[in-house]
């Protein structure tokens, strides 16, 4: 069965159509990459899958693990295993990162009818993941994303993912802003989570990420539609000749295009 099945998805934000008929299927165990020019709708796709308000689905269907995803609340999606690593992780002043993550894990476990983990168990678990990501323990005590550098925020998203162990992970430009070492560490973290019963969708601008994480498929999104699909080589091709080389109009949006005219 498909983990994620998107059929003819149309999404408007503030009355403006951003996604214009997306079709995408991701099977269990697969890793897909989505590339595309700025403003093409990549983050919008992540938000709508996560259920953010203000992202209005005007047409189409989304199935997650065979169930209608669009009918579920944001937290239900999360508890069922949909994880979004944010392009811009949000700061929550005064709330310790570890405390936050423990509350999240236990909320998810409770939803699934599993016993909650206590402070000791959690500490053990989170420290293991922290070590794998070569993150300092101070990040457990610091307030969620507050004062984190760009790269630290991204790494923290991967920490959240590693602890929450989602079924479907959507990573929105998690590689942007990472230095070379961090990129490798984060990639290892992602690879460690690759498994037969997990699917991942990576949004990225750079083929270098795909040197570390080999995708099963690459999709190119432009102006709210998937305009190209291929294997991992597509990313290399893109890097060489750019979107224009593939015949993709990379003017940001319709509005942008008319402005340029």
């Amino acid at each position: 069965m498909r983990m994620l099945e998107i059929r003819n998805l149309h999404v408007s934000v503030g009355g403006k159509e951003i996604l214009r008929g997306i079709n995408l299927e991701v099977a269990r165990g697969e890793v897909h990459a989505i590339m595309g020019p700025n403003g093409s709708g990549k983050s919008t796709l992540g938000y709508v899958l996560a259920g953010r308000t203000g992202y209005e689905v005007t047409q189409g269907e989304v199935y997650f693990d065979g169930e209608n995803l669009l009918e579920m609340s944001v937290e239900e999606r999360a508890c069922r295993g949909v994880f979004l690593a944010f392009q811009y992780p949000v700061e929550i002043p005064g709330v310790g990162n570890m405390y936050f993550l423990k509350a999240a894990l236990n909320a998810q476990r409770k939803f699934r009818g599993e016993p909650e983990v206590d402070a000791m168990q959690f500490l053990k678990l989170v420290k293991k993941q922290l070590k794998a990501l070569k993150m300092d323990e101070v990040f457990l005590q610091r307030a969620v994303n507050v004062g984190f550098s760009g790269g630290e925020k991204k790494r923290n998203e991967i920490l959240h993912m590693s602890v929450l162990q989602p079924k479907l992970a959507l990573l929105d430009e998690t590689d942007s802003g990472l230095d070379i070492d961090a990129l490798q560490i984060v990639s290892e973290g992602v690879n460690a989570l690759r498994s037969e019963d997990r699917a991942m969708v990576l949004v990225t601008h750079y083929q270098r990420l795909l040197n570390y994480i080999t995708p099963d498929k690459v999709h190119v999104l432009a102006k709210g539609r998937i305009v190209h699909e291929g294997g991992k080589d597509l990313a290399l091709e893109l890097e060489k000749s750019g979107y224009a080389g593939l015949g993709i109009d990379d003017t940001e949006t319709d509005r942008g295009a008319s402005h340029a005219r």
Partner: protein
């Protein structure tokens, strides 16, 4: 402090202390007169000087008008419709042990989570329980007495330590201070008294638990804490009331005195009944709290978490008299539904090099109105005084309000006063982020609010901090989404 590592559970429940106990009590008929004051004084077997003091206060009160400067609105209180004395009937005048206390009363406190039997209590806290107008039990008295610490009901202090009471009563909040303080001085029925001798560090938290039970009664308690030179005490105050459709008046006075190098830490978790969703019922909490840092290097620290009450009118203050003395005020005030709060502090710098810190966190939800009103006054002689004020407001929804009214007067050029203020809303992006990690709307709000209040919550003693966190979640129930 690891309060934030505890689980916050915003349990789905309404005000859970709203029950009424079926306890036979002796209640004075409604109305205020010299006769009633004499009745209260006689009931308590008070010395003549105290009766005279009450009468003086009463006569002064008659000349005063209720203050209207606070940003709160309510129907005028009919002071003749209130009963000024209500006490649970006891087998004897003063119970010698808990066995002589009405079992229903003990059950009431157990239901409130305050078991009075010492062996059932955490050993770190001694409790004085005030039920309606009188103190019903004080725990760990014996153990404290061995160190020379006096911790008892106010009535008992009048009997056994009249000189101390006479010396300090009204010395910080005079009977002429304000309308509600004058009223309290005339009719106060009980409260807690605490005396820490020279150089003694009180080994446990002292705590008073106030409970209003009887309908149509006012609660007018009086707390007096004296910390002799070099002593330390941490004092906690908690309060609840039944759910009733009528408003009930609570007008307390708290006086603190800290001598040389003494430190008093006073914490309140105020959870009086806030009234229902439409603003019906609830407690009018009109309270005067003031501490005098009389001695050099003395310190008084107020921490309050105000979640209950229909109306809160309260300004715990510090008179910084001693050189190098320190005053602190940490406050969280929540107003949800139709609640109104006008609260803050006064820091009066009198001595040289006195320092004060004010951290105020106001949270408004529903149709709640929250005003921070604070005064920082540096007298000309208070050279080198310092104040830092931080005043943050958090809004939840579009129908509530937050207001900040700082008064700053600096009488010399060597002092420095800083004021920072901010107003923010719980962000949609924050709520989405929390929900995306699996947290419910209520847990998310509770988490964000607790984060917002952290600076204040960390000042609370551990046991209270956990309680306060839960309370914040409960108070904001249903305010979002």
């Amino acid at each position: 402090m690891v309060a934030d590592s505890q689980t916050i559970s915003a349990v789905n429940q309404e005000y859970k202390y709203g029950f009424v106990s079926d306890i036979e009590s002796e209640t004075a008929p409604p109305g205020l007169s010299e006769h009633i004051i004499r009745f209260i004084s006689a009931k308590k077997n008070e010395p003549q000087w105290l009766l005279d003091w009450r009468l003086k206060a009463y006569r002064h009160w008659l000349t005063m008008v209720e203050p209207t400067w606070a940003a709160v609105h309510y129907e005028p209180v009919d002071y003749q419709a209130i009963s000024y004395y209500s006490a649970p009937k006891q087998k004897k005048e003063a119970p010698k042990s808990l066995d002589e206390i009405d079992p229903e009363l003990l059950r009431t406190y157990e239901k409130l989570g305050i078991p009075l039997r010492e062996q059932e209590r955490l050993s770190g806290i001694a409790v004085d329980a005030v039920f309606d107008s009188v103190s019903v039990a004080t725990t760990f008295k014996g153990k404290l007495a061995e160190m020379g610490i006096v911790f008892c009901s106010f009535s008992e202090a009048v009997q056994h330590h009249p000189d101390l009471v006479r010396k300090y009563l009204g010395s910080v909040v005079p009977h002429t201070d304000n309308f509600f303080a004058a009223l309290n001085s005339a009719v106060f029925s009980d409260g807690s008294f605490c005396y820490i001798p020279k150089g003694v560090r009180c080994p446990m938290e002292l705590s008073t638990y106030f409970r209003i039970n009887t309908a149509n009664t006012g609660q007018f308690e009086r707390t007096l804490i004296v910390a002799e030179a070099g002593s330390y005490v941490s004092y906690l105050e908690g309060c609840t009331a039944p759910m009733r459709d009528e408003n009930q008046l609570h007008a307390a006075v708290v006086e603190l005195i800290a001598l040389d190098d003494a430190e008093i830490k006073y914490s309140t978790v105020q959870n009086w009944y806030p009234g229902d969703k439409d603003g019906k019922g609830g407690i009018y909490n009109f309270v005067t709290k003031r501490g005098a840092c009389r001695g050099a290097r003395s310190k008084i620290s107020w921490t309050q978490v105000e979640t209950g009450s229909a109306i809160t009118w309260k300004y715990p203050s510090c008179l910084l008299q001693g050189e190098n003395s320190v005053g602190e005020f940490y406050s969280v005030a929540i107003t949800n539904n139709r609640q109104q709060a006008d609260t803050g502090t006064k820091m009066i710098h009198i001595g040289k090099n006195t320092r004060s810190t004010i951290i105020s966190k106001g949270i408004s939800a529903g149709f709640g109105q929250n005003t921070y009103r604070g005064m920082v006054k540096v007298l000309p002689a208070a050279h080198g005084a310092r104040n830092y004020t931080q005043c943050d407001s958090l809004l939840i929804g579009d129908h509530c309000g937050a207001h900040t009214v700082p008064y700053i007067e600096v009488g010399n050029v060597t002092s420095k006063v800083e004021h920072e203020a901010s107003t923010s809303k719980i962000g949609e992006d924050q709520l989405f982020y929390c929900a995306q990690r699996g947290l419910s709307m209520e847990d998310s709000v509770s988490l964000i609010v607790n984060g917002f209040c952290k600076q204040v919550l960390k000042e609370l003693p551990m046991e209270f901090a956990v309680e306060a966190q839960k309370l914040l979640g409960l108070s904001l129930e249903g305010s979002v989404g």
